[in-house]
Point group: C2
Chain length 629, copies 2
């Protein structure tokens, strides 16, 4: 039996669920929908496919939309058995829906729905239908994600502050279920990522009154649950952890217990932040951010190697054409979208998907093309947010770091156009733009007296930060000699302001690894991530500063509990360890080809399984012999 | 107390309800959503307003969306009393919603929501908020239209065909409610616009099984209801007629009983087809068609003079920018949209609204600009539907009738740009394009030997139909001499194929009236509309051919009951009688200025009230003296 899939207009599923995700932020009683252009799905589409039937066959179409099936020249309602053939027959399914995206499920032995169907929205040429491996049953509804569930009971209950504090073994994304053995009372439950947050009735992010009928609270991040004004232990409390089941393919086991523990906590952190999409963290925003997602693509490649979450995240971020605003309103996040596709390609060689989104890659590049200054530097439009990092960058005029990302976009486009077999004039055009931009970056931003790239030339300040210099290493804007000078004058120069965010720390460590400073990186991993573990972290935090007193560790953005304690970008040790220490370089993910450059000098023993596309490789080092299976 | 309105992103309300309307077609058990690009509303918007408060004041924001209120720098949830002032304060309300358009209701003495608020969608510059006079209470939900209701009991019940046939006094758009005195049974109800349709269980458009709990059926067009397999008269049947309450301002009473009856039935027909939007008819499509709506704009002006339904219909038809397909997929319907605004302006002088939709007028014209051939004629893009009429037109190459509509669009744009006070270069540009196109039409399409405009010049066939020649009169493409030749060679030439659709018959009669052939028009009104009355019509039909045998009168589009028996475009006698016979020409609707050119020779007496913008004029002719009050 073939697998029938629910199908929809390519991208609609992701746009719909992305809105649900981006509108799910709740803060102390009010909703906070993401503050950027939120793109709608289509409301009226037609699905089409032609068949050459050898014999008579039957099928049935299911849909929650308004519409009908046209088989040949006869119309049928949804849910009715349709018999047709033998011979050539055109099937079209017309569907309209307002509240969600129209989707259909065609069930039959010969005639059934999958990604081979065409779908049109009456505004553009037909495209291939979208589908998901999670929606293959006619009783499902693609607007409702069926989460996998695990039930957790509290590991401790403690009477304190006039109520009861429940602790779970780790942080979860869970529906709390509270049952009062005496019958329903309108209790309040205060949730916290930390004990302190749960106990702070006023400042905790989430506090709920359980539903009277079910005793359940909305799904949210929770490790501690505090129920005030509740003396007796007459409650039954459980957490129903809801998650998207994406199997982890990697295993990391070394002779270094701390590093093993860092990997393990990073893995748990990353799994929690990998739902329908890559989100930043599970407590606060829960938004799909282009910059954060870009870093998740690196980790995914070496941990879960799941191409589907990449695809969903890419479609969610990019929205519809025409492109009228930057992704998440941030110019650099627009550029990371192209770079994310590069990582997606390197990880999975997923050309069919890249072919499908190629028009959106082109239109993104065209959107940026209109925002260049007289030197060809990308400056954005008035009011555009140029982020790069929370750091003291000289942002007057065109920013060097932005040009480096932009150059890498051109290089990526050139490479992918060649891979997709596009007209060579197209890839050559991108290649030329790449080379010209790279040349101009070196001409305008490289300061040979400082031996470093400056943030910006417009102000005349010649301000040097680590950011552009890190990108110069990562994207090969700098040549070998320049890289050596950058290492000396910037990366290992204490006079240059430190990177303070874990977000940019990833790029810095990636650059250090790329340049071979592995020992330095290992020290930092042990210090920084190890430091969080010492503080009792069960998931890695959005930010960690060992110098901050313990009672202020949860403070961020001027908010007492503003810091997210389970944040995707803090899972980056997985990538660094797998890519540079175990040294796995994937050379052909489709064929499962790879090269291993292991740095065994840091471990007495090592036993790792890492994914290579759909396959895995097992790397074993017993201190004497290296086995790769 | 000021009126607080529910507000939303300008146009969203109309796009949402238009989808509901266009997806409401049901045919013998299956849904048939309109087959054109259906445009979504926005999902994430921010409403903003700044106040200078003399003293402290309180307000509260209501919304079904996810979001919060930002007053100054403090955030509040919806539904909470907010106190602020005195002094300057910025209020912004953030709202996200997936299933419907986000809307808010701000209630307060000083701070309250109305059309003065700004709203933005994060993709375009802020615009003025949309609102409706029908939504002014915080307990309403702008996604649900609260219809006015009247209950109708059947005027007769008849046992026939093994069941019971209920007749209502006229055609309705009603929810049938069936109560079985013995308790609920799953009865089937077959509805019909005609007795024949209701009795035909197989071919009637609507047949329902009433809801078990309420005994109610979905809202649909119904004059007859047949309940098969039901012998006893143990049922209670009523029809709950649901309508949008738009008051009729006109009254027509002449000495000619037949004409009075035609007016009255046309009025009833038109009211039924004037709901949230102007729709074509109430049984079959129930879709918002640009060509049909254009004709409704003429009737509305002289019957209800309701500017709001025009506004709603214009916004619903046009959709969002960028424009990528023709309105209803039909090139000429795109052009009627601009011409509808012309009629809207002439009827209401509604410059504030026209200013709001001006960007969409501009982008529509730009969309068409890209579809002109080497002579500047509008030909559309490959696959575009060029309709004009169901008639044997020579459609090879650029079609004359299309160019005439297009020329009128340029003239309209020139006029409205001047009225809106746009830069004179803009209006001059449109004026020049108008003049050039008009010149070229006369050069390429006027055949002086035939004394008529030909359909097309590309084929060399020099085919003459009435259509372009009617437009030449209506839009003054023809000069006085040409018009006279058109009358002789086309309009009164039996050798030229007759107009067969009531749709185009309206343009023909309008042209005849414009040229002074009133007697001819009156004869045709009495024959054609009088003919339908003789057939027992209680509403006017989509089409009527006296030569068709009675048993085939309901047949259309190859469907036994395909003909709509209550069709908006058949209400045109109202416009013709008011505009040309009573002779009311509105010259300044804002000030209530008009000119009356009455043709009293056709009536012994006349007592008419007609709207002039928001005012009315009373015209009384007692056979001797004419009074205008």
């Amino acid at each position: 039996m073939n697998t029938c899939y629910w199908i929809w207009y390519f991208g609609d599923f992701e746009l719909y669920h992305a809105m649900k995700q981006n509108f799910s932020r709740i803060e102390r009683g009010y909703g906070w929908p993401a503050f950027w252009k939120s793109e709608g799905f289509r409301n009226r589409v037609a699905f089409r496919r032609e068949y050459y039937l050898e014999r008579e066959t039957a099928f049935c179409v299911y849909s929650g939309a308004v519409g009908y099936v046209l088989a040949g020249d006869k119309k049928y309602p949804f849910g009715e058995k349709i018999v047709c053939g033998p011979g050539k027959i055109k099937i079209s399914v017309h569907a309209g829906c307002i509240e969600t995206f129209p989707s259909i499920y065609v069930k039959g032995e010969v005639i059934y729905s999958d990604g081979t169907w065409q779908v049109e929205d009456y505004g553009n040429p037909p495209v291939k239908a979208g589908y998901s491996r999670y929606f293959t049953d006619e009783n499902q509804n693609p607007s409702c994600w069926d989460y996998s569930e695990d039930v957790y009971l509290p590991v401790s209950v403690e009477a304190c502050g006039g109520g009861l504090l429940y602790e779970f073994e780790t942080e979860l994304t869970a529906v709390l279920e509270i049952k009062d053995k005496k019958g329903y009372r309108p209790l309040r439950v205060c949730c916290g990522e930390s004990r302190e947050e749960a106990l702070d009735r006023e400042h905790c992010y989430y506090s709920w009154i359980p539903d009277a009928r079910t005793g359940r609270c909305p799904r949210c991040a929770v490790r501690y649950a505090f129920i005030p004004d509740c003396q007796e232990k007459e409650l039954e409390v459980k957490a129903i952890h809801q998650y998207v089941d994406i199997p982890v393919k990697a295993q990391f086991c070394s002779s270094d217990g701390l590093v093993n523990q860092i990997w393990s906590v990073a893995e748990h952190t990353f799994k929690l932040c990998s739902g329908i999409f890559f989100i930043d963290g599970i407590k606060r925003d829960k938004w799909i951010w282009g910059g954060d997602a870009y870093q998740s693509f690196f980790v995914n490649q070496y941990l879960m190697s799941d191409r589907d979450i990449n695809r969903r995240t890419l479609l969610a971020l990019r929205g519809n054409d025409p492109m009228t605003t930057h992704i998440n309103t941030i110019l650099d996040y627009t550029l990371y979208w192209i770079l994310s596709i590069k990582i997606h390609y390197e990880a999975y060689g997923d050309l069919p998907f890249i072919e499908q989104i190629y028009p959106k890659m082109q239109s993104l590049m065209a959107f940026c093309e209109g925002q260049r200054d007289e030197h060809g530097f990308l400056t954005g439009r008035q009011g555009d947010w140029i982020f790069i990092d929370w750091a003291d960058l000289d942002k007057e005029g065109a920013l060097c770091a932005v040009q480096m990302l932009y150059a890498e976009c051109f290089r990526t486009m050139a490479v992918l156009c060649r891979r997709l077999g596009k007209d060579s004039a197209i890839s050559d055009g991108y290649q030329e733009k790449y080379e010209l931009l790279k040349k101009n970056i070196n001409e305008f931003y490289w300061d040979s007296s400082k031996g470093a790239y400056i943030d910006s030339f417009a102000s005349g300040k010649k301000h040097v930060t680590r950011h552009a210099n890190i990108f110069a290493v990562l994207f090969d804007i700098a040549d070998k000699g320049q890289k050596e000078r950058i290492a000396e004058n910037v990366l290992f120069n204490d006079g240059i302001a430190r990177i303070t965010t874990p977000y940019f720390k990833f790029y810095e460590m990636d650059a250090l690894c790329k340049m071979g400073y592995l020992e330095e990186v290992l020290v930092r991993i042990r210090e920084y991530w190890g430091g969080m573990l010492e503080q009792g972290a069960v998931t890695f935090w959005e930010e960690y500063d060992p110098d901050v007193p313990e009672e202020e560790q949860y403070d961020m953005y001027g908010d007492k509990f503003g810091k997210s304690l389970c944040h995707a970008w803090s899972a980056s040790p997985i990538y660094l360890l797998a890519r540079y220490f175990v040294g796995l370089e994937i050379t052909d993910p489709v064929r499962g080809e790879y090269v291993v450059h292991p740095h065994l000098e840091y471990f007495d023993t090592l036993d790792c399984i890492l994914p290579v596309g759909d396959k895995t490789v097992h790397i074993i080092w017993d201190g004497k012999e290296l086995k790769i299976i």
